[in-house]
Symmetry: none
């Protein structure tokens, strides 16, 4: 299997003035080609250090991809570095001279010697046409090593890689080429370490690999397989994902880009059911997440943000005495909000949140992070009490996550027929 190393050249990268999106782009392309990347390095516009970095890369990788420093200015060193690192002296390419001359004529710019430096090519290198700029890329194969140099601007680098570099690389990867494919299993309602405990053995496997990533109020398990073809890699991923689903059970709500709100909306659609929400502490975020799903209008029509107690009383007709008695943050009010919004909307389900998002408003009895979530179904109205860690934004988000998951579990629990 071929290995590659990516070297990004540019002082502005080292100063953090630019975030490098080129290297991740190329990394994704290379892994799709089955080319392994073990090191990625960034150096400044310093000839000595850049050269040393490229030589080190050549010593440990089959393919070295240089990003940036191909422009015409003084600090654009990449052309010289490729020449030095591979002992391939620069020669001026007449075709490139003609191309540059014409390009500048069209733009009515004067062509200068500085600009023509972009026509200098290391001996034996193939210049790669640049559809969106003046600086050509370089592809040089020498002594079983491949050196590729690409311009830094993403709008130049990305099309150049796909149009020029990919075809050249695929011919080299040949039979030893493998494809890497990933899929992400998404988990809600179980912590990272609990999830890991259930799949610890799988995490020792080299192919497929399984790696957990803790996200806010959910965990992602990334399964990555290497195989000869994308189809085989996908099959390995599917098989491994199935095992994970079996181990973890219904805390797995979806895969890849499926968000929890996607999963809930899909379940409601499949059941031809609808949900309405009444929100206090989440203040619209729950409705906002549901309606962020394209096509959610099929399953969602009404949301009430009853942030003030008066709104709970006037919009939801929750008796003032109830709120005065047990308080707005209570199972009683959560249930009343859910059942009332269900009634007045005519939705299949009513979902509600009421809690103390903080930073203020907490008490010993009702600390910041306490949230009651209400769910009203055609047969019952329940509420759950949760204590969420984190700041106001985290508590609010966790509350929407818990509310969506409460509904999701209800939708998994019973078929419509059993109930209606």
């Amino acid at each position: 299997m071929l290995s590659a190393e990516i070297v990004s050249i540019g002082t502005e990268l080292l100063l953090g003035q630019i975030t490098d999106t080129d290297a991740p782009f190329i990394s994704r392309r290379l892994s799709a080609l089955g080319i392994a990347v073990y090191h990625r390095t960034t150096v400044g516009d310093n000839r000595e250090r850049a050269l040393a970095t490229v030589l080190q890369a050549l010593s440990r990788a089959d393919v070295v991809i240089l990003i940036g420093g191909l422009g015409p200015t003084m600090d654009d060193l990449t052309r010289d570095i490729v020449a030095d690192a591979t002992a391939s002296p620069l020669v001026r390419d007449p075709a490139l001279v003609a191309h540059l001359t014409q390009w500048f004529a069209v733009k009515n710019y004067a062509i200068t010697d500085v600009i023509l430096r972009q026509a200098d090519v290391p001996t034996g290198a193939i210049p790669l046409p640049n559809a969106n700029g003046t600086a050509p890329g370089l592809f040089l194969e020498k002594e079983n090593k491949i050196v590729i140099a690409l311009p830094g601007p993403p709008n130049e680098l990305e099309p150049m890689f796909d149009a020029e570099v990919l075809p050249l690389l695929t011919t080299r990867t040949g039979t030893e080429s493998a494809v890497i494919q990933s899929r992400t299993v998404r988990v809600v309602g179980m912590g990272e370490s609990d999830a890991e405990a259930l799949i610890a053995d799988l995490m020792n496997d080299a192919n497929p690999t399984v790696a957990p990533y803790a996200k806010l109020a959910e965990v992602h398990l990334r399964v990555t397989s290497r195989a000869a073809t994308a189809l085989e890699a996908d099959a390995l991923n599917a098989e491994r994902a199935a095992i994970i689903r079996e181990r973890l059970g219904d805390v797995v709500y979806g895969e890849d880009d499926t968000t929890l709100e996607n999963a809930v909306v899909a379940l409601l659609k499949s059941r031809r059911e609808t949900v309405a929400v009444a929100e206090s502490c989440t203040g619209g975020m729950l409705a906002g997440r549901i309606t962020n799903v394209s096509g959610s209008s099929e399953v969602f029509g009404v949301g009430l943000v009853t942030y003030a107690n008066d709104a709970k009383i006037t919009l939801l007709q929750i008796p003032r005495a109830v709120i005065g008695g047990v308080g707005a943050v209570s199972p009683e009010v959560a249930k009343a909000m859910a059942s009332r919004v269900r009634e007045l909307s005519g939705a299949t389900y009513g979902l509600s949140t009421t809690g103390v998002a903080g930073p203020g408003g907490g008490s010993d009895a009702k600390p910041v992070g306490l949230v009651h979530i209400g769910l009203s179904t055609p047969t019952e109205t329940i509420s759950v009490e949760r204590y969420f860690p984190g700041g106001r934004a985290d508590v609010r988000y966790r509350a929407t996550q818990a509310a969506l998951d409460l509904l999701r579990r209800e939708l998994l629990k019973t078929g419509m027929a059993e109930r209606v």
Copy 2:
């Protein structure tokens, strides 16, 4: 002058599944401290390669900063690598054990041995408190080298660097160290290039520097000053920010962490006024943004998400004939939504959104991205028509941004006394 090298550890980085924003952040901080960065390297979750990379970094830099791999899971190798690279065996820190135990108790999660690995500290290292997660950072000084390990999630790494690492580093940089302070001027309703044109001259200055950053539906101008003391740097920033405000006018809505919803809530509070919202295409996101502001209950009590036409008719009493005639996405309906929610909530202002978020639902007459925003005040009800670019999520967010800015400009325009 001290030199530093940054080593990012994570296979997901090498696969390009994540773009590294931590390294640029740290690069900016280090350059602000006058610490030179000559190399930045990314390696995967591979003990051997990661260790070799750290040893190489130690051989050529005074300070080595490791990012990522500090979590509890098996592929989190950084703690071991720091121990090996510096010959500082891991010892379990009782204080960290206590902290972790308590943190998990709050979350009602069971504490496991896996989690407690995060309490292992290389001999002689200072554990760095993590305000937003469980994994502590590490600061180890040994044989004139400094090794720092930080967690990968930006919301953990950035505050940890500023609160814990900066003070420790500044004492080492000694007289070379100048203090760097930044402040961000936040702009809404003006594009990056228009804003740039008004401050082009300021962007050439070396101290303070001014750098524009285009964000979704707003522009941030980061002013950074270097001075002997934080006070002096702040003064330089304040002076430069004042010039920018004067040049740009009321498109500047706030500074630093002040969001547009923060600014609107503050204006409403200062005027002792309130707002209610009626949302269609933004589906709760507008209320969600307002209520994300701590203390927003003083100025916000009611939000209606009338996503379905029936909800507009039943909850807002918008005549079916109006919706049938001009359609739900129209100035008429935007105005009706704003004035009706204002009436039934008793709020000072009613704010509404109705539009085509896409990807479906567009037509020649009403393309995806068309949004009407309604604002009802004590004296008038108006609507504005906007066409937003981007996907569904962008259109929805831009709509909330435009609605908040429409209200903000109204609040700036007139004093209460003039109107009530």
